[in-house]
Symmetry: C2
Subunit: 330 residues, 2 copies
């Protein structure tokens, strides 16, 4: 069994999302709590801008929960940068216990899942879960320096500049975390660093199929099933793979990355990055849940465990997907 | 409160350690379960060798627990390589749910702590926690290519080539995990990548002081207090810092890195790396606990959250330390 239910359901009592200027012009723009005017965000480097975004998201979520930084017992975070520096330097700034995670773009679900387990067990009272990504830091770490001006291929995705954070607690109001499904590392041999959707879709299919089987539920039992950043191609592959496993995703299925930009925004297959699902969850989904639009949400972001070193040594790109079930007042 | 007690104490029912040839000649050599004849371990690259070590450690711990791979519900692991590739490719090989962690050299405690919380809550029955490091992969990622033959300074430490894994369960026999203290990210401004001990010692002091205060215990209440890889200089700094906080470490204090090599082995301030504390815990400490030599152990490995990117941008090196209490038959 990969799935377990939480007896004492932690609630998301505070949330915050922040996004870059390009991201702010997309369909989710009006739901983000803060839109940056400039990608550099007043900092000397893009890495420092990414960290500043994460700090603002964490602060914003704590304020949104009506708490003080000193009320938070633990921060759970990870990001795409080597040694998850955005997260660890953010944790340094807040002087709170820190649990560093690495799940690539699945981190928002991973941090919420582990945070929920700690709250459920009564180990901590309030924890903050966060992640984010930045287009310019990811491009130069994983692909090419921006200065090279490399052409983008049709299967490529645009790592979004965005962050999101959630505060979990048993006290307060907000969507509850009802279930967790930790995913397996799945690799069907994709080695193209410009085709993340195809690399990650099998992991999403594996985790979602395990979730449906183990909980004896069907896709139509959810108001919204949302993956993280499969993009256009990856989402289509997921729909096909799940259908082959006997589960038909309907109109209640969506992908944060696929919906992140308009066609005119020239992001090819869509958005990607930890920040995509983090900002859509904390910007759009939680607000819609609080407004009564969605009551049961299956949130399953996916991570491509892509390493330039492993790729150069001939390895393919494994994917992973963790899923959590969010319920509002049921 | 950073510290919490576990009601249902998970036991380490299986453990395994593997180390490289240089490491095998050190004081812990006779306690390791497997000593490699060659650092490359029959693989094409050092990264593949590191992964193979981790796979063997995980397999060995599962066998030592008397279980099959299919009995394990989750693997919790992390390592020093970018995108924790040793861990994620190992998880791919085992086809089991995977929770990726990043705590640098504190990972053995982080994985055991999170694994213990999952077992304590009844979410999973058996989990495996693992980490490892390799001298040659760490040197080229964090410092210089080996081919350059750079001179080592007196404060430098030798990243050990070693891995360790533990299986946690409520059923079976072995040392119990009684308490967990998650640490803060602490940074007193050290920016020398060849002085990891000084960068990490403040984090160890912070976590240990929090542990002693919150649990109202003193250093002498433990048979063994062991840090991960502070090395000679870092251990001395820790002793001084803790004394200034009112806690006097005595003869029951030791550091895995400091004790890892003999003076003749030319490792300057000692060993370091995730593999140091992982192999000493799973090779030496657990065996000594089972033999009745140690009954209460405070295991507090430390991680230097060092990033070449952040260092090049002028940042100092933050440290983190997570602590767990192991008890045998009390």
């Amino acid at each position: 069994m990969q799935t377990f239910k939480l007896k004492n359901r932690p609630k998301i009592i505070g949330s915050y999302s922040i996004a870059g200027p390009k991201e702010g012009k997309g369909p989710f723009g009006k739901y983000f709590d803060y839109i940056m005017k400039c990608d550099r965000f007043g900092e000397k480097t893009y890495e420092q801008a990414e960290r500043k975004m994460l700090e603002i998201a964490v602060t914003g979520a704590i304020q949104n929960a009506g708490l003080m930084v000193s009320d938070i017992n633990l921060m759970l975070a990870g990001d795409l940068l080597n040694q998850i520096i955005s997260s660890s330097y953010t944790a340094r700034a807040f002087n709170m216990p820190f649990l560093g995670l690495f799940g690539a773009c699945s981190t928002m679900a991973e941090s919420l899942a582990v945070g929920a387990v700690l709250i459920n067990g009564g180990h901590y009272k309030n924890v903050v879960c966060a992640t984010g990504s930045h287009f310019s830091t990811a491009e130069r770490q994983f692909r090419f320096p921006l200065e090279l001006g490399c052409q983008r291929v049709p299967t490529s995705q645009w790592t979004v500049t965005a962050s999101g954070a959630s505060v979990l607690s048993l006290e307060g109001e907000g969507p509850e975390i009802a279930m967790v499904t930790f995913g397996k590392v799945i690799d069907l041999g994709i080695s193209d660093v410009n085709n993340m959707g195809a690399a990650m879709a099998p992991a999403a299919a594996d985790t979602l199929a395990a979730h449906f089987k183990e909980t004896k539920q069907n896709p139509e039992d959810y108001d919204l099933i949302v993956t993280g950043d499969l993009g256009k191609l990856g989402s289509e592959i997921l729909i096909d793979m799940l259908e082959a496993k006997g589960f038909k995703l309907g109109k209640n299925y969506s992908d944060c990355g696929h919906s992140f930009f308009t066609r005119k925004q020239d992001a090819m297959c869509g958005g990607s990055g930890c920040g995509a699902s983090a900002s859509v969850l904390n910007g759009y989904i939680i607000k819609k849940m609080k407004a009564g639009v969605f009551k049961r949400v299956l949130f399953a972001p996916t991570g491509a465990l892509m390493s330039p070193t492993a790729s150069q040594q001939g390895e393919s790109i494994p994917g992973i997907s963790h899923a959590i079930v969010l319920e509002m007042g049921v």
